[in-house]
Symmetry: C2
Subunit: 243 residues, 2 copies
DNA sequence: GTCTATAGTCGGATAGAC
DNA sequence: GTCTATCCGACTATAGAC
């Protein structure tokens, strides 16, 4: 009763790229780390838990990752890569639009609205069910792994979003106002990740149904656009389709 | 070098009510628990840290609270009481308005807008600088202490807010749509608590200045109202001042 | 009520066989 | 590369003096 991988049922391999396909100890530890660190947090996760969940020997953790912390960093790096890959198309679309001097306000607003359902779908997907706790923990008690997340995708995404907001509202993209407005808008999405326990209890369920996810995507996109549109100076709201 | 309370400088006593005024071991442990659990999380906080930060003996934790977990529960109970007290006036105002059959939509919207700056001020206050991590951790990895928070104020506040949103949008207050819309709106506030590390890095500072807090309060209230107003069916938006 | 001293457990990392 | 066995430090809780 020592060799079985016990319980690694559904979740697909995190790094599904070409080369890293083997079901070896290293990958099994990465997957187990994702689950265990998400469920317990870094401190409460013990190397014994990690090894037994992965179905590998305890000594494999220092061997492959230099220790528990090294495994944690590798897990954070893996989810950062995954999210970055998921966001890249939207980032490129936004960059293209921002280079267009003649983009209309309504085009900018629509693009901002379209940037929200993607992350919601990702974070609600089974593949990503462990991302939330890991990200939220790094927000509250940033560790040495926080820069991996921040430089990996957070900074890029927020800067692009703030540029769009700045363009839409005719304010400098790096002003506190643009940054705060962008954050507030993003908060309409983020709260479903960050206040997960409360919303699920309010909805009376244990996890988000597909129907709930669609509803959240629709409502967040709608309200996000409305929030910014309503923040336009009055004179702009009438002629919103001007560049 | 064993008796000094070492570092309990500024933060005022958590339970400033009449009777509990003594600077005794029990209160010092509560305050230290607030700080240490917030900074490290439950698991990483050791009884040695807690006792030395409080300037009391290690054995005082089992003595007064039955153990580390009991101290944690007491800390969560204390912040729940604090937040509940802070929210009570707004809750009562909302209840009064909801009992008024003739309240206009714009009155309801204004009240919703007014419910947001309060919590923002509280969570940004020095007194409450440790609330965020504790609350966020319970959202991500709810422990046996989560019901203390949820039943203590979260449920009440969210139900009231959802009733206001439902009234404003003419949808049932307990429908998924009302619950999700309410959550998304609240997210514009919550994100400043839950994604603290990111927003501070974007703003280029270590903590929120008073000016930032005022800006956040203004923007969140404005965007929250706009988000809901923009979600009204078109036909309503013209005659918004009708009941 | 507060202390010291210690019991008993579990943590992460390592040594060294295979 | 993978295993077993073990070290050693840190943890929480308790016993019992004062």
């Amino acid at each position: 009763m020592s060799r079985k991988p016990s319980s690694l049922p559904s979740t697909p391999c995190l790094s599904s790229t070409k080369e890293a396909r083997e079901d070896d100890a290293r990958n099994r530890l990465l997957q187990a780390g994702l689950e265990v660190f998400a469920k317990c947090g870094f401190e409460a996760a013990s190397t014994r838990m990690l090894a037994s969940k992965a179905g590998v020997n305890l000594a494999a953790i220092p061997y492959y990752f230099g220790g528990k912390e090294g495994l944690y960093h590798a897990v954070i790096q893996a989810i950062t890569d995954r999210i970055h890959r998921h966001m890249q198309p939207a980032i490129e679309r936004a960059q293209a639009l921002l280079e267009d001097e003649h983009a209309s306000k309504s085009e900018i607003l629509d693009l901002l609205g379209m940037m929200l359902p993607g992350p919601i779908a990702l974070f609600a997907s089974p593949e990503a069910r462990y991302f939330g706790p890991l990200i939220a923990n790094e927000q509250q008690q940033p560790t040495s792994a926080f820069p991996i997340l921040y430089e990996g995708y957070v900074r890029r995404v927020h800067e692009i979003a703030a540029r769009l907001v700045g363009r839409y509202l005719d304010i400098p993209e790096d002003s506190p106002e643009a940054i705060i407005r962008t954050h507030a808008v993003a908060g309409q999405m983020f709260v479903f990740l960050g206040a997960r326990a409360t919303i699920l209890r309010r909805l009376g369920c244990d996890s988000f149904s597909e129907e709930n996810v669609r509803l959240i995507q629709h409502i967040v996109a709608e309200q996000a656009k409305a929030a910014l549109k309503g923040s336009l100076p009055m004179t702009h709201q009438a002629r919103e389709n001007q560049p």
